[in-house]
C-alpha cells in the first residue's frame, strides 16, 4: 500500500513538475513578447495625449475665486506655463484676493492638432457662476509641454 502511495505521489510530482516547467516556459516567452510589444508601443499620439491633459488643466484658472483656490491652482499649473504666462497669471501672490462667487466649468469638446513642434488645442466649454452660463471657445498652444499662448475666441 505504501509502495503504491509513494508511486502515485512520485507520478503526481513528476506531472506537476512538467506542468510547472511548461507554464514557466510559456511565462518566459510571454514576458519576452511583452517586452517586444512594449518596445513597439505606438507612440505617435503619446505627446498628443500628454499635451491634451496640460491643455485641459489650464481651465483650472477659471475656478480661482479666493486665495486658497489661487494657491491650489498655482501649485497645479505653474510648471505647465511658460515664463510670460506664469507672470501674467500668478504675479500678484502677495495681494489677498477677495472672495468671489465660485465658478465652475464643463468641457464640451476638445480637439487638437500638431503644427511643427507646437500643439494647438481647441476647447469648447461652458462656464457657470451663480447659475449664469456662458459658452467659450479657447485655443491653447503648447510647446515643450509648456502653455505658451491662450486665445479666448
Amino acid at each position: 500500500m505504501l509502495k503504491h502511495y509513494k508511486l502515485i505521489l512520485g507520478i503526481l510530482i513528476a506531472i506537476l513538475f512538467v506542468v510547472i516547467v511548461g507554464v514557466e516556459l510559456s511565462s518566459y516567452m510571454n514576458s519576452k513578447t511583452l517586452q517586444e510589444l512594449e518596445y513597439e508601443y505606438d507612440r505617435r499620439l503619446s505627446e498628443y495625449y500628454t499635451n491634451e491633459v496640460i491643455a485641459k488643466s489650464y481651465l483650472e484658472v477659471l475656478t480661482i475665486n479666493n486665495n486658497v483656490q489661487y494657491k491650489a491652482v498655482k501649485d497645479k499649473l505653474y510648471a505647465y506655463l511658460d515664463g510670460r504666462l506664469q507672470k501674467e497669471l500668478f504675479n500678484y501672490s502677495d495681494y489677498p484676493l477677495q472672495d468671489t462667487p465660485s465658478i465652475s466649468y464643463e468641457i464640451k469638446d476638445i480637439k487638437g492638432t500638431q503644427q511643427g513642434y507646437k500643439y494647438v488645442f481647441k476647447i469648447e466649454y461652458v462656464v457657470t457662476t451663480q447659475g449664469y452660463n456662458r459658452e467659450f471657445v479657447t485655443l491653447i498652444t503648447i510647446e515643450d509641454e509648456k502653455i505658451t499662448e491662450v486665445s479666448i475666441l
Binding site: 505521489l9 510530482i13 506537476l16 480637439k111 471657445v137
Partner: protein, 189 residues
C-alpha cells in the same frame, strides 16, 4: 507519516508556484491585449486623420477664395451635404462682406481724418483691395483631431467685428464631410 507530510508540503508548494505563475501569465496576457488594443486605436486615429486631412486640404484655398468671392462649388465639396454647405457659406459671406465694408469705411475715414492726406484724392478701390487682402491673410485654418472618434474638424478662424471671430467648421470622417457649422464666438471674458 513524516514522509507523507514532507511530500504534502512539496506538493502544496508546487501547486502555489503553479497558481502564481498562472496568475502572472494572465496579467501578461491582459497587458498584451491592452497594448494591442491601444495600438489598433492609434492606428485607426492616425489613418482617419491623414485621410480626412488630405481630403479637407483640397478645399482649403477654395473655401477661403469662396468666402470672399461669394462663389463656392458646394457640390464639389460634398454632393450629399451641398445644400447645407451652400446655406452656411451664404451666412459666412454675408458676415465677411459686412466686415469688409466696415473695415473699408474705417480706413477711408482714417485717411480723410489724417491731416497729412489733405488735398489727396481717396483711392477707395485701392483701400478696399488692401482691406480685402489683409482680411484674407488673417484667416487661420486648423485641422483638429477628436481623439475619441477620429473626427477631423477643419476650422477656419474668420475675422469679425468687435474682436470676435467667425468659426467655420467642416467635420470630416473617413475623408468625407458630414457636418458644417458656423458661429460667431463670444470674445474675451
Amino acid at each position: 507519516m513524516v514522509m507523507a507530510k514532507r511530500v504534502s508540503i512539496v506538493l502544496l508548494s508546487l501547486v502555489i508556484l503553479l497558481m502564481s505563475t498562472g496568475c502572472s501569465n494572465d496579467a501578461i496576457r491582459d497587458k498584451k491585449l491592452n497594448i494591442e488594443r491601444y495600438n489598433q486605436q492609434v492606428e485607426f486615429l492616425m489613418t482617419q486623420y491623414e485621410t480626412s486631412k488630405t481630403s479637407a486640404e483640397k478645399f482649403e484655398n477654395m473655401l477661403i477664395e469662396g468666402v470672399f468671392s461669394g462663389k463656392i462649388d458646394a457640390q464639389s465639396i460634398s454632393s450629399t451635404y451641398a445644400s447645407e454647405i451652400k446655406s452656411v457659406m451664404e451666412e459666412v459671406q454675408r458676415d465677411i462682406q459686412d466686415i469688409l465694408q466696415y473695415n473699408t469705411d474705417i480706413q477711408i475715414s482714417n485717411f480723410s481724418m489724417n491731416p497729412e492726406n489733405e488735398g489727396l484724392v481717396i483711392d477707395e478701390e485701392q483701400i478696399e483691395l488692401e482691406v480685402f487682402e489683409e482680411l484674407k491673410g488673417s484667416i487661420e485654418c486648423y485641422y483638429f483631431l477628436d481623439s475619441n472618434n477620429g473626427v477631423v474638424e477643419q476650422t477656419f478662424l474668420l475675422p469679425n467685428k468687435n474682436g470676435n471671430h467667425g468659426l467655420l467648421s467642416l467635420y470630416w470622417l473617413e475623408g468625407k464631410i458630414f457636418k458644417i457649422s458656423y458661429k460667431i464666438t463670444g470674445g474675451a471674458i
